[in-house]
Each structure stands twice: as C-alpha cells, then as structure tokens.
C-alpha cells in the first residue's frame, strides 16, 4: 500500500458574504495516496475549486473559515503558521489554477514568473532557473520556448497560458499536485501530451494528484479513483471502473448520460438533468439533490442521507440507490466505439 499523502476529514469552508455566511464545502472527506490520481467531478459551482484552494489555504482568511482537518502526511495544515504554509506551497503541494489569466501577473513576462517560482523553492542560480523554465515550457509543448519566455501573458493563446501555469506548478517536482481543470483550454493532442507528462512525474517521483475536471473522458483515462460532488458534499466515491460501470447516485447517472457522443445521431437533443442548482443561501434540508431527482420520496426531502460504503471502496449518499439500480433507469450508455 502506498503512503497516505493527503486526507481530508470532514472539511468545511464557510464564506462571510454581504448576505450572511455560506458554506461552499460542507463536510468533504477523501484520501489521496502517493502515486495515485483521484478525480473530482461535479456540477459547476459544487465546490471543487474551493476544496482545492482550501487545501492550500489560498482563500482570504479574513472572510473565510475552515473546519475539519486537512492532513498532509499526517499533519493538519489548518494548524500551520503562514510561513510554514508558504513552505508547503510549491515545494510539497502545487496547484494548477482553473483561471490562468487571474493567477498570472500581467506585468511580468511568463519567463520571469516561472523563474521566480523556481528560485523561491529551489537552490539554484538565476541562469539555471532560466534554462529550467525554458525546458519546462518545451515539455508542455510550447514552440520556440526560448523566445516565448520573454512574452507577457496577454501575448499568449489561452492554451499557452494554461501550459505556463502547468510548467510553473511542475517545475518544483511537487509531492502532491492539485490540478483544477488543467486541460480545458487545450486541444486533445496537446492535452494527451500534458496528461502523459503528469503521468511521467507520477511514475518517477510517486507524485499524488487531485484531478479536478468535468471531462469524463480524461477521468476515464487517467484517474484511479473518482469523487463526485454535489452542492458542497461528496455524493459518490468509487474506483474509476466501478463508477462508469455501475454508478449508484442519480446525479452521477444523469451526468454520465449527458456526455455528448462522438458517434451516432448528432442531432438528438442532449440529455439534461432537469431543474436548477439551488444557491448556497437556500440549501435543501434533506438530500441536496432531492428537488431535481426523479426518484425523490418524502424521506429524501426531509432527511439528509449519509455517505455510506455500499461495497468495498464504493460510497454513495442516497436513500434509494438500491431500488434505482434495480430499475436499470439511467444506466450507463456506452459512449465509445
């Protein structure tokens, strides 16, 4: 068994807003071992990025409050001092952000930004850092990296900016990588190259990865385990084969059904999960998915189901999943071939 690298225990993240406190992450628990890639998927706005940013404590702590435990190699990061957190960031844990433009500094060249992050975390000369930066850009498939290092973020394409972030995050060989939608701006061939690069680091340094993505094709290709979130909670967790073969939660089933296909009738209307996600100010008191769930009963509306381990390694938060699987309704449709 590999070493337990990260363990989230009942993590809650509360924001103070103009209209009161909202809880964007509400009791999330999962574990990442070294050498493992855990996928996190879920509805837009369900708390994936906030979970990721909480792990590195990147949120503005004046208006944010954390609860629970974030254990990194057994130590709770929530107890760390600011300076100790700084050491962890980049050295041990690095993050690829969802929005490259808001995390790159517009007034510095991309080369300077990568060099700075290398110098911050590693002992080497500026010159060495520069050649390392160029090498990292080359590895992410940016052409003429020796010229491109002098450019500013706005001079690069969307996918190139994303790759600059990736280069920066990987330049210090982190033990744990948190990748928040790392390939959304990349074409599939470049994406394959980046996923291979991450895989190589995983093999050579035993790096653990949290892969946040809505691309279920990417999940199927690179993840060993998958956590599905809905409105701040984990609603299902399983190894990747199990999740695709026998999804239990109605939300997961709806999600898998909504994948647009590469073959077959393309004019068919796409499947949608009916209804809207409630805002964080009006969270349902029972099962959070109940208002949109075709199987919801009175019990679902009144009582929140716990996340229970249905069989070894497969957890689900639903009162009725056994009956639902029985109906075969929402069963996985083969999207391949």
């Amino acid at each position: 068994m590999q070493e337990k690298l990260l363990e989230l225990k009942n993590l809650k993240t509360h924001f103070q807003t103009e209209r009161g406190v909202v809880t964007a992450v509400n009791g999330v628990s999962f574990t990442v071992h070294s050498g493992e890639t855990v996928g996190v998927v879920g509805e837009s706005g369900c708390g994936k990025s906030v979970t990721a940013e909480s792990i590195l404590r990147l949120l503005d702590e004046k208006s944010t409050r954390y609860e629970g435990e974030i254990l990194y190699k057994g130590k709770n990061l929530l107890d760390f001092s600011i300076s100790k957190m700084q050491e962890i960031r980049g050295n041990d844990i690095s993050m690829i952000f969802q929005d490259p433009m808001s995390s790159l500094n517009p007034v510095y060249s991309v080369g300077n930004q990568i060099v700075e992050s290398i110098l911050l975390h590693q002992k080497c000369s500026k010159k060495e850092a520069y050649s390392r930066a160029i090498e990292m850009l080359r590895l992410t498939g940016i052409p003429s990296p020796e010229k491109r290092v002098h450019e500013y973020p706005h001079e690069l394409s969307g996918g190139m900016r994303q790759r600059v972030m990736i280069a920066m995050a990987l330049s210090c060989q982190p033990r744990l990588l948190i990748a928040d939608e790392p390939t959304t701006a990349l074409d599939v061939t470049t994406q394959a190259q980046i996923l291979d690069l991450i895989n190589e680091l995983k093999l050579s340094y035993n790096m653990g990865t949290v892969m946040i993505t809505h691309d279920l094709g990417v999940v199927a290709e690179v993840c060993t385990r998958v956590v599905v979130m809905y409105l701040g909670q984990v609603i299902e967790e399983a190894n990747v084969e199990m999740l695709f073969k026998s999804p239990c939660h109605p939300y997961t089933r709806g999600l898998l059904k909504s994948i647009p296909k590469l073959t077959g009738d393309r004019l068919e209307k796409l499947h949608v999960i009916e209804g809207k996600v409630p805002t964080l100010h009006q969270v349902p008191k029972g099962c959070r998915f109940a208002p949109r769930c075709e199987f919801a009963s009175q019990k679902c509306i009144e009582q929140m189901p716990e996340l229970i381990e249905e069989e070894s390694g497969h957890k689900v938060r639903c009162w009725h999943f056994k009956e639902i699987i029985g109906t075969g309704e929402g069963h996985y449709v083969n999207t391949s071939s």
Binding site: F15, S44, I142, A185, A192, H214, G217, P260, T335
Partner: protein
C-alpha cells in the same frame, strides 16, 4: 474567395485572405520577428449557420475571432458582413455592427470587471447601445440570468463569488443581451460539467432557431463541436487546412492533422483503450513556420513535395475542401 462558395443564399459573413501577424520583441523591447497567428484564412458563413472552428492550441482560433470582431486590426484581408467590409466601417456603422456581432471570450474572469455586480455588468451592454429604460433593462438582465441557469438573487453578486463555470455562463448571457445576429463563441462551454453544458448547448440551439442566429463556435471538445456545428473548419498553425460539413468531416477526415486530432479524443469509458495517432516531432512555431506544407514535419505521410510546395486548398468531395498533397 473560399472555395466552399455559398450556393443560393448570400453569405452572412465572408472572410477573405485574413492575416494577422504580431511583432515579437526580446527582453530589451527590440522587435525580433513576428508571430503569424492567422495566415491567409478564408471561409464563409450563412445566415443561421453554426461554423465550428477547431485546431491545436495556439493555432490562431481566438485571433481569427478577435480580428473579425475588430478587437484587433488585421494585417491584411477582408471580413465582409452583409456586404460591408468590417475593416472599412467607421462611426455609427461600426457601432451598429458591433451590436449585431457579439463575442463570448475564452477567459471569462478577465473579461468581467471585478468591482461591478453581475447585474450591472450585464446591464452595461444595454446602456452602451441605448436600449430600454432602467426598468426594462433590469427585467432583461433577470430574464437572461434565468435562461443561463441562475436565480434572480445572483444579480447582486460580484464576479469573484462565482465559480469558473458560472462566470462562463455570465459571459454568454452578456453576449445574448443585445439580440445579436452573429456570436463568436470562443470556448463557451469549456468550464462546464456535462449536464450544465447540455443545458447551455440546448439554449444556444433554441435561441438560434428563435432568432436565426449564427455562431462561429470555437471549441476543443470535439463531441460538442460535432453536436452543434453544421460545418467545421480545422486550423493548423494559422491556416485553415480542412473544411467540410460535420458528418462528412467526422466520417471521412482527410487531412492527416484532422485524423490525428480525431484519434486523440479521450473516451469516457475506462474499459476502452483507443489507438491514438501520436504526432511526432516538436511543435512548429508560428514565429518561423515550416516551408511547404506547415504540417509536414509532424505528418506521418510527408514526402519530398510537402517540404517544398505549399498545398493549395482543393475541393475533393461535395463541400469538402482540404489543403494537402495527398489529394490531387
């Protein structure tokens, strides 16, 4: 002229030999070369049509869109919208075209003013074009928020309080505010989970029918592009290398780059392993594009002629054009 000349109808937009080169500077600020971001691109769009644009990261898709919107001036070429060359318009005429053409930007966060409430950001577009009074504008904003899947109370929130996918839908709502004719959608659903993505794509199709909208749809998701587009153009290193109707392109991809691209789509099924055509060699640079066919250094079928001669775009099947020496 695009060789896929529109048959009967007059095209809505004709892009002809569009070029956009950016100067490249070194750390001292001296110009050391140029990026040929868009190099001789031509295509046409009909009224009510969705034209998909796909291709490698950095191949010039966003620049093509931005140049058509005239957010950047072209180096050369024309973009003719309803018979008028966009690059020759001034004053009021330009203003009214700016209302008819809207763009959904690839980077949602950087296009939203962080100090303004979402409702106000959306209302601004109406103000710029002097549409409606205060009450009507507010109603319109609420309606749009609802259509892209928000609750009315989200009107008062600031951009940083939204998730990546939520911001993307705000960008889309903003483009839809003024009832445009043509929307350039640059990766409009890239940050959405598949279920909300379906909602947004269905919405795009509904309003397309309702208002006979046209979309220039840029996306890396080849399943999404397939679903939404009538025709598709494939770009590589600033050039449009293949163009065909959707079913034809997916059923019969001709250009070796298109073939490699389609083979690399990850399959949402862990039990299936697909044989991917890996592109060999280093990615060529738009600073110094290869001689002959720009794809030749990475092409599995390249021969001597590919290094020397630029292939011309030819019509090889019905409404299917490709620029490749394999097809003579």
């Amino acid at each position: 002229m695009s060789i896929l000349a529109a048959n009967e109808e007059k095209p809505l937009l004709q892009v002809r030999n569009l070029k956009k080169y950016f100067p490249i500077t070194n750390s001292l600020g001296n110009v050391t070369g140029q990026v040929k971001a868009v190099n001789n691109v031509s295509f046409e769009m009909k009224e009510g049509e969705t034209f998909g644009l796909v291709g490698e990261s950095g191949c010039g898709k966003s620049t093509t869109g931005r140049t058509i919107m005239r957010l950047v001036e072209p180096t050369e070429g024309e973009a003719i919208y309803r018979g008028k060359d966009i690059y020759r318009l001034k004053g009021n005429e330009l203003m009214s075209i700016r209302r008819e053409m809207q763009m959904v930007f690839q980077d949602p966060y950087s296009s939203l003013n962080p100090r303004k409430r979402i409702g106000h950001i959306l209302e601004e577009t109406l103000k710029i074009h002097h549409i409606g009074n205060k009450k009507e504008r507010m109603e319109r904003v609420m309606e749009m928020l609802n259509r892209v899947g928000f609750q009315s109370e989200q009107y008062y929130r600031y951009p940083h309080e939204f998730s990546g996918g939520q911001r993307q839908r705000i960008g889309l709502a903003r483009a839809l505010m003024v009832n445009p004719n043509l929307i350039i959608c640059d990766e409009p659903v890239s940050a959405l989970d598949v279920s909300i993505q379906s909602q947004v794509l269905n919405l795009l199709e509904e309003i397309q029918e309702e208002f006979k909208l046209s979309y220039l749809f840029v996306s890396h998701d080849l399943s999404v592009v397939r679903h939404i587009s009538d025709r598709i153009g494939v770009m590589y290193l600033g050039e449009l290398v293949e163009e065909a109707e959707t079913d034809e392109l997916y059923g019969n991809p001709l250009h070796p780059y298109t073939q490699a691209l389609l083979s690399a789509v990850p399959v949402p099924n862990p039990a299936v392993k697909r044989e991917r055509i890996t592109l060999k060699g280093e990615v060529p640079s738009p600073l110094n594009p290869p001689s002959g066919c720009v794809f030749h250094p990475r092409c599995p079928h390249a021969t001597e002629i590919c290094k020397q001669k630029v292939p011309v775009k030819k019509m090889v099947a019905k409404n299917h054009a490709v620029a490749c020496h394999l097809y003579v």
